[in-house]
Symmetry: C2
Subunit: 396 residues, 2 copies
């Protein structure tokens, strides 16, 4: 019940035990095409270039940034938590001239602040996290696409922590590039990064296309300024996933089976229903920790559905409580980074764990562990408050 | 029965369906430590820094090269097949001044040729493929470490296609950096890249260590010239796998289970026994295709145990034969790249497929398909020749 990775849906693990097939076998390329279509549904996009990057969610971020950024490009990174710093770091290593704006952890930017920063820095690219698990808040993105379009700025976001647990619409919100991971609300293991790229992003990326030596044929593209990475060169990855089936990496077949099953389950449930499920169980967990008498960190109006940050009560050693929950009750919760390290616990309700029994069991165990640590908790207050949320939802 | 990826050992797929645990759970960090130790056995090394890169084998190559190369460094890449071109490509994108030497596909370099090239180019790094599946030959490496040491050159090799199917000794041969993949002789799926780095390589890499913003603490390393990639920054990946447990990527747990099981099976069998198994079944396949009257490509004295390249007979459409084998017999074989595309078939005997029944079934099916294509094959000549190899081995 931490901020992710969380335990996977057993149906996804089962899908991953299927035997491999050859990488250009018609059944394998059909799986690849099917996976692209499934993720168009998950991201809510019509983008042709919707595919998997073979690596963790961080690999997806780096593939997007190193492919979109030419060394020297100006990139604007608004930072409201640990993962904004990561975007800055990756953009800098890709050779960008990075401009940052920082706000207090636990808050989000207004569209006017972003527009002002764009006017001041004239970036080629805006790179911003959607939901930053380090602070548990989600940056509203729905008004930023229009601003980016007005100023001719490419618009990238990382939705690893938020996708499928919080409303997200790649096309309606004007995103040019989006990357994710499986290990949060999608209910799978880390190791594959679904991603989608708008025609405008594809055009920018393909302008630097350079087919690698060893498989280059007469007439193939060679750029004087190729993308700095081979593994993350999206112009070749597009051709690998497209009808050319360019020989690039060897697809991580088992991870593809997992990513495909994550999306199949979501599309079966309905992506909006999955978001509503996360909203409900997240609300129950929030009410529960408040019902125990604990304080909650961050701007609750912009809280992610799938994770809540709880102030560690005065006089309590956060890691001792976490250890007792893990060792005696088999329940893992997290701490956080930087200014919040040791100050808050982060409790997740995501993916396979966005369930009533997980929420109630966690609250029941937390009450007992806190009581043993000497905290004056309200007996039954956590589970009771969560039950009320569930009853209200059932009655509505 | 192609040149890889091949179907995985079912025991490995079963290991990959195990439930996830938290990334800093003591059982997870114990699995990570165990995996490091297992791969020390597989690589035959004492290197502390023996770990997994989260991506395909190509990710392992890029992690090694981008971390070892500072922009402007001279790198020597001797090329004897498609994957030598890949090393050149990745080194160039990492900013190296790359010098290549090329020889005819199907042959290998002599140590004297490599030494001569080192004298001429004075590289900081020698990067060379061990077994190049595109040509099916393996470059002897055992004398190159001593040469590299004499000239102060770091020595890197990619053993994706050869490891566990051909003799390899990282320490005895003086390697500084080695990367691999699971999808060939290790019998697993693509998506995790085992790698090992000598103390000398670690020192060179850590000289550029730069802990990323967002998790950097007072006193942490910051380099003026950090490694160009964040995802592939081995100095941080070392700290992630080491006692510091630096928060870098989120380990791809399911792929770790798979990589761990690949190594467990190998260590159970005995790494030398696994190489001998590949030698035996590879020899049976070689004798079999020759027994059918087919010609074999490349220098047989340096042939890899696990793949053979067969000349496509005059008048036969290679892809039609491959299609018939796949669609009617359920057996996949490969073609090759560049100058060999459409000229040879590549038939593998590796990992789970390095078995007598796989060899005999493939030869029996190939005989039938060739006969139907109008090739004058020796009836029973393939299976008979393979049987003789097995009988000789049993009698010896």
């Amino acid at each position: 019940m931490g901020p992710g990775p969380v335990n996977a849906d057993p149906r996804i693990l089962r899908a991953m035990s299927a035997q491999l097939v050859g990488q250009y076998d018609p059944s394998m390329t059909a799986y690849m095409n099917e996976t692209m279509e499934l993720y168009r549904g998950v991201f809510k996009t019509e983008n042709e270039q919707t595919l998997l990057i073979d690596g963790t969610s961080r690999a997806g971020i780096e593939a997007a940034l190193v492919s979109l950024i030419s060394p020297g490009d100006r990139v604007l990174v608004p930072i409201f938590g640990r993962f904004g710093h990561l975007l800055r770091e990756i953009a800098e290593r890709a050779g960008a001239e990075v401009h940052v704006r920082e706000i207090e952890w636990g808050t989000v930017f207004t569209p006017a602040q972003i527009e002002q920063a764009i006017r001041e820095t004239k970036p080629a690219l805006l790179a911003i996290v959607h939901g930053d698990t380090s602070t548990t808040v989600a940056q509203p993105l729905d008004e930023l696409g229009e601003i980016c379009e007005r100023y001719g700025v490419l618009f990238y976001t990382d939705v690893t922590a938020s996708l499928a647990g919080n409303a997200f619409e790649a096309d309606a919100w004007g995103l040019d590039a989006v990357t994710a991971g499986l290990q949060k609300c999608l209910g799978g293991p880390s190791g594959s990064a679904p991603a989608t790229f708008s025609p405008r992003a594809v055009e920018a990326i393909n302008a630097r296309k350079s087919i690698e030596a060893g498989i280059r044929e007469a007439g193939d593209a060679v750029s004087a300024h190729p993308i700095r990475s081979n593994y993350f060169d999206l112009s070749m990855i597009f051709d690998y996933w497209g009808p050319k089936r360019l020989n690039h990496h060897t697809e991580a077949t088992t991870m593809l089976y997992g990513a495909r099953e994550c999306a199949r389950l979501l599309v079966d449930e309905g992506i909006d229903a999955a978001v509503e499920r996360h909203r409900l169980h997240g609300a129950a967990m929030l009410a529960g920790v408040q019902g125990l008498g604990l304080g909650v960190f961050g701007d609750l109006d912009h809280r992610m559905n799938n994770v809540v940050a709880v102030h560690i009560p005065e006089g309590v050693t956060g890691d001792a409580v976490r250890g007792e929950l893990l060792n005696d009750f088999g329940i893992e919760i997290g701490t956080s980074f930087g200014p919040l390290h040791g100050k808050v616990w982060r409790i997740g309700t995501m993916g396979y764990n966005a369930r009533k029994d997980s929420v109630l069991t966690t609250l029941a165990a937390l009450e007992q562990v806190l009581r043993r640590a000497g905290v004056a908790v309200t007996g039954g207050g956590g589970v009771g408050a969560a039950y009320e949320v569930y009853q209200d939802a059932a009655g509505s």
